[in-house]
Every structure is written in C-alpha cells, then in structure tokens.
C-alpha cells in the first residue's frame, strides 16, 4: 500500500490475516496485522507475557519459545507464518501449579538474578536438550560422527543464543547439567 500510513493502528484486510495456532496445548484464533511478530502476538494478544522482549532483533534470546518442538526466537517470526502450527512458551513447560525438572533445577542452582532472560533460557534449554538427545553436534564437538557428551563447554556453546545481563551463566550451566544428567 504505497503512500499509506506506515504504522496505522486500524487493521485493513489486505494487510491482515486470521491465524489459528496451538499455544501450550490450546487452539487460539486471532486476527492480526501481518507485521505482528509471534512474540507480540503472545504478549499483546494472548496474554502470555512469559516470553520477553529484550533486543527484538534475534540477538538476546529472551523471546525464545518452542515452535513445533524446536527452539526459535519469536521476535523474528511473523505470527501469520505459524498458522496451524504449535507453540510452547515458558507457561507451557509444566502445569500451572508445578515445575518442570529444568525449572526446579534453575531454582535449586540460583540460575538467575533479575529473571528477565529466564523464560527464554528455560525454553532454549528445553529445546537444546532435545537436540542433544537427537545426537546433534555443536561447534565444539570434536567428532561430528559420535553423539556429544554434554560437558560444560557443550552447554555453553549450545546456549550461546541466550544472553544473561546478570551473568548467571555458571549457575545456568549447572542447572542444565543437572537436568541433563537426571533425565
């Protein structure tokens, strides 16, 4: 729409879409301006404020969610592209009154201070542990053809997409290590 307002708040039909997406096990339906990211959809349209907006440019990882089971940065996903797909946010990692083993380990190891990056760290670690169980190598894996042992260097490399401004990294590594060892 040339010459039109760049950031019009009213939804016009050509530039908006009806999107159905499964979020934490429940089907949700919403009409969105095509420019709306998955992150903004979760936070502003679906009342799921667990995923956080840090940089909004795919660099900090605080918006990490699981899309069809794989960790992605929801700030770089237009919601219109996930129509029919399934999303799990930090709110869906465990039931409303329980903690997943990963969440319990984060608490036990004091793996955060301010907590802003934590939902992204948790979703990223969940996705990362699944990648490890599928035998995926990382940049620090010596032998590409043998499943990597999850030593600390592997955890750090695989979690490099999640920044923690409070620098709780040693405790995050410990929490992930313990979760991996006990699962």
């Amino acid at each position: 729409m040339q010459g039109g307002p760049e950031n019009a708040t009213t939804i016009d039909e050509r530039h908006s879409s009806r999107v159905t997406v499964e979020v934490n096990g429940a089907s949700r339906e919403v009409t969105l301006d095509n420019r709306t990211t998955l992150l903004d959809t979760l936070r502003e349209h679906l009342d799921l404020t667990g995923a956080k907006k840090g940089c909004d440019h795919g660099q900090c990882g605080s918006c990490t969610v699981l899309l069809d089971g794989r960790r992605v940065k929801s700030c770089l996903v237009f919601a219109v592209t996930v129509d029919g797909r399934s999303v799990v946010t930090v709110e869906g990692l465990a039931g409303p009154d329980e903690l997943s083993p990963l969440q319990a380990a984060f608490i036990a190891h004091d793996a955060f201070q301010c907590g802003y990056c934590t939902p992204g760290q948790l979703c990223s670690a969940r996705g990362m542990l699944d990648e490890v169980s599928r035998g995926w190598p990382s940049a620090v894996t010596d032998d590409l053809n043998t499943p990597a042992e999850l030593i600390d260097a592997e955890i750090r490399e695989r979690m490099a997409g999640n920044l923690c401004r409070c620098a709780a990294y040693p405790h995050i590594v410990a929490a992930v290590r313990e979760t991996a060892a006990s699962s």
């Binding site: 019009a8 301006d33 795919g58 237009f78 592209t81 940049a139 695989r158």
Partner: protein
C-alpha cells in the same frame, strides 16, 4: 515497518509468478535476516511470499554420489544430517559455527545464501550506502571499516558477505538450482555472487524474482578430510572476522587436490584459486601453506582499520591445512 500482504504459494511456479507480478514482493524463508531488516526499515517489501511450506525441505543422495539439499532445509537439520557430517564435514562445521541454536533452527539453506551484509552502514538508514540506496555514497569506505572487505572492493562498496555456509559451498563447487520466470536453471556457485563494482545493490547474478530451490554438492571423496575454521570477536554467536573452508587431499605428503575459500574478506565468498594453485602438486608444509595464502592475498587492499585480516587469514589457512594434513 511498511504494511505487507502475505502470500503462501502452493508450489514453486506460483511463488515465482507472484514475484514476477509484484515488483516489490520478497520471498520469506526463515526470516532471521529479512524480518530484522524490515524492522530496521532497510527492506520494505509490500508482499511477502512465504516459501517455507513448499516441498523443498529434503536432503537426498544423488546417483553420482553427490547430495541435493532443498532450499528450505533448515541450517540445524543440515548440520546434523549424517551424510553431511560424514562426507562434507566442512559444511557441517560452517553451519555449526554460524549464529545460535535458535537461529539455525529457523534459517534456511536458500535464505542463508541470500542474506544481506552486516555492514553497519547498510543496516543504518541514516547513513549513506550505495547498496541500500544506489548513488547515496559509501559511509563505510572512510568510516569504521574494521569488519569490512580487503579484497575486490570498490569505491562504491566495501561490504563483505556474511554467510559461513556460502564459504563452505564455494569450496565444494556447489551448483545452485534456481527457478526463474522462464523456468529452472543451474548456476555454479562461483557465478552466483558478484563483485560490488559500480552496482553493489546487485549482489548476485540471479534474475529478480528468482527462487533458489536447491543446492547440489558434487561427489568429492576428498571432502571427508575437510574443515571450517572461523575467527570471531567472541567464542560463539558472532559473525566471522576471518574464516576458511578447506578440503585437502594428500598423496603421501604431496598435495593431490585442495579446495580453499575465505569468508569475511570480500563482497562474495572468496574461492582461493591462486592459493590452491600454489599448493597443488607440491609436498605439503606449513611454509607452503603460508606461501599459498600470501599468493592469494597479494592483491588485497586493506582499509584503514582492517589490515589485521591479512595475517589473520594467512594464519587460519596454515592452521586449517596443517590440521587436515595431520588428521
């Protein structure tokens, strides 16, 4: 961000037809670069054609022993593919050295090849940039150019190509399969990328609206002994300040065949033909590897802040080849 219409094509032909009919449409792959550039106002498509649900997401062995990789195969899936890990470790290593776990889950093969430079002046709409806005000038030439090109740049543009994957594919003599308005076409990767010259806004030889549908790796048994070395400002999740993709085939200690390509030095992934020429047929040594790198970099023209890239590129050439020679 400019408002856009969203289109999900049923097949490749429809995708290409939409691009042909809509002069300001763009393909959307994993979005890891395009969505960001749209937020920054650097790219302003009015239609997005989402190609991620096209049936281009498979990796298949070819009768000749090569490998065909669909354009929408995600970087993480490709890096984890058992045949890639075994037969083309340079490719797996290049992919794993790039971005972060989340971004590799999103980024596609085709999109990775067509990602835009991370030159900060290109990404800042308040700065002059001939690539973003032809004729506006180049703020990088005499600006902060530490991360930019040392080879083959022009007065109009000193940007580098940011992809690691493309460097590995350049070393492997990959063929890029594209679909254009008048049908499919195969292009050797060496002919895909352009020097900046006077038209840095044209980064590839692909026709406007061309869709990459796959890349084809030729059989290359020597690539089992291959690697990718990348130097970054931090240990992980950063673009290269120097990188090398290397394949080495030794007959005793004599170099029977070698493939070398550099990243972070030029507007395109830089296949180091001259270095290969120096190495081929000679007994391998560290000194020979250093001489080969020097031959390749002889015509380099470092900018004010990036002279370090020459000794760096030389050093990683020696290290990569020496590691391969002793493996």
């Amino acid at each position: 961000m400019r408002a856009f219409r969203y289109h999900r094509p049923a097949d490749v032909a429809e995708a290409v037809a939409v691009l042909a009919a809509e002069p300001q449409a763009a393909y959307l792959g994993g979005g890891t670069n395009l969505v960001d550039l749209m937020k920054l106002g650097v790219q302003r498509p009015d239609v997005l054609v989402d190609v991620t649900r096209l049936p281009l997401d498979t990796v298949e062995g070819l009768p000749d022993g090569g490998l065909r990789i669909g354009a929408t195969v995600r970087n993480s899936d490709l890096a984890a593919h058992p045949v890639v890990r075994r037969d083309y470790p340079v490719l797996a290593r290049a992919l794993l050295a790039a971005a972060s776990g989340q971004l590799r889950n999103m980024a596609t093969t085709g999109g990775n090849l067509l990602q835009r430079t991370r030159c900060v002046y290109f990404q800042d709409t308040g700065k002059a940039c001939n690539k973003r806005e032809p004729g506006s000038g180049c703020a990088a030439l005499h600006g902060q150019n530490r991360d930019l090109a040392v080879l083959d740049w022009s007065e109009q543009c000193v940007a580098t190509h940011p992809s690691d994957l493309a460097v590995a594919l350049a070393a492997l003599d990959t063929v890029v399969e594209v679909h254009e308005a008048d049908g499919p076409r195969d292009i050797p990767i060496a002919d895909v990328y352009r020097s900046p010259g006077t038209h840095p806004e044209r980064e590839t030889t692909l026709a406007r609206g061309a869709l990459i549908t796959a890349v084809r790796l030729p059989p290359l048994p020597a690539a089992r002994r291959s690697t990718y070395l990348k130097v970054r400002d931090r240990a992980s999740f950063a673009f290269a300040v120097g990188s090398v993709a290397a394949v080495l085939d030794l007959d005793g200690d004599v170099v029977r065949d070698v493939r070398l390509a550099y990243g972070a030095v030029a507007h395109r992934p830089w296949r180091a033909y001259r270095a290969e020429e120096e190495l081929r047929g000679r007994p391998f040594s560290r000194e020979l590897a250093a001489r080969a790198a020097d031959a390749e970099l002889a015509e380099a023209r470092p900018l004010r802040h990036n002279g370090f890239k020459l000794p760096l590129t030389r050093a990683i050439t020696v290290r990569a080849l020496t590691e391969l020679a002793s493996s």
